[in-house]
Symmetry: C2
Subunit: 266 residues, 2 copies
């Protein structure tokens, strides 16, 4: 499994129909889960180094259609981290105060500080997705926003933040199965929102605007298109990419500012 | 193992020398870990109900001497929760802005909202602990603050928040062993703060002010004195108390506002 295969190369255009939703990387489910468990031990270790060093941060952006697996990714991948070093930010419909500011204002406030990992469950990208599909902004405004997003992400990376953006790619059939499951199981009724069906009816329009959003993939803030019909493969691939990224940041335990040998505890 | 044995009864005084730091509940380490694993599956399940219901919240306060096990508790107990529903608040030395307000101002801002679990790693109790030991406040001010704390916690519980307060009780010998371990292991040097030795020298003064703080134990915001020399027993006992509490809150999955049978997904 080569994670780079799932990365959107900078400067190119994306046709989501070229990207498999059901990929399993040639692994069985059991093999995948065993690998994920191993990777997740590494996630906790490298997070501790990042936290101890306190100089760099990691921002993980999760975007997907409804029932695409954002919440499951938070639970099953981000759950591997020490909760002390992770902040999950859920971006919902903006409040009145948030609407009174530019679209990046509320997002900027939730950027992870040095030593921390921030997870955006939905993000500033909603402002070029749902808003476009519902004609709340026109294409020219969307282009301006995409440009602002590029500059904003560049500001964060200059400040020591690595950014990973994951689009969880599910098929229309898989979404149907998951929504049906929420209807069939009384313990999942609360997860079902009838309005999701309105969004589902606009499947192709979402595809188009997602493809535009994916053009913001850069070397320092790449998009990954994660095959997400199989939850275990989604968890495996995201764990792999996050671990590779943390290791690539080379966080170091700080050197002691004292001589341990000279200290005696009474 | 009866968790109630470790709860401070409201209205009484506490003499910490009566409380064992090395209790193992009559269990072996392996037995304790197996039990903890089982309890932690329950923690995640009941957290989901709390989150789905969205009407009540849980606030967990962790207090301890240096190396008492606060960070370990966050990692090994709070790590069992879905990170999406937990906020960890670390209260450090107050900033200039925080010092410009009353001592509960910064704490109030971090109170968990409905459906969420908040964990205070250190808390408003520091304002009647470290401040007293260092004579930054006198006993009369401490009494006033303890009174404000009682009213503040009562405000939170009236608003639907359950409060659990854990004092992680370690012996002076165990603290020494843990501090020494931080000196001996280069990967732990960053956790060692030479100033911790100054606090250690004031062991008995801390005991006295902790005993005063523990008098704020009430039925709705109880203190537990957790024997914490054995990390596995600490994790087991806290998991047990938190799970019992969540179950006792009886969170319910919300009823659907739609008829699932009438919905067809196209």
């Amino acid at each position: 499994m080569n994670p780079d295969k799932y990365r959107v190369k900078p400067g190119g255009s994306v046709n989501l129909s070229d990207w498999d939703t059901n990929d399993d990387g040639g692994l069985s489910k059991d093999e995948g889960r065993t690998l994920t468990d191993e990777l997740q031990l590494g996630l906790a270790d490298w997070q501790e180094r990042l936290n101890a060093e306190g100089r760099q941060s990691l921002l993980i952006v999760l975007q997907a259609r409804d029932a695409g697996g954002k919440d499951g990714t938070v639970k099953h991948v981000m759950g591997a981290f020490n909760p002390n070093g992770v902040q999950i930010a859920n971006f919902k419909v903006p409040t009145e105060e948030e609407r009174g500011h530019d679209f990046l204002w509320r997002v900027h406030q939730r950027a992870p500080r040095a030593g921390q990992i921030g997870v955006f469950n939905r993000s500033h990208y909603e402002d070029v997705l749902v808003t476009r599909v519902h004609s709340m902004i026109d294409d020219s405004t969307a282009d301006r926003r995409l440009s602002h997003i590029r500059h904003f992400e560049s500001l964060l990376t200059d400040g020591g933040t690595r950014i990973l953006k994951f689009y969880l790619h599910v098929s229309k059939e898989e979404q149907k199965a998951r929504l049906q499951d929420r209807l069939d199981d009384p313990a999942k009724h609360w997860k079902f929102n009838p309005a999701d069906l309105t969004e589902r009816a606009r499947w192709d329009e979402y595809t188009r605007v997602y493809q535009d959003a994916l053009t913001t993939s850069t070397e320092s803030a790449p998009w990954y298109v994660i095959p997400a019909d199989r939850k275990w493969f989604r968890n495996l691939l995201i764990s792999r990419v996050v671990l590779d990224t943390l290791q690539g940041m080379h966080p170091q335990f700080p050197k002691a500012t004292f001589d341990p040998k000279e200290i005696e505890i009474e």
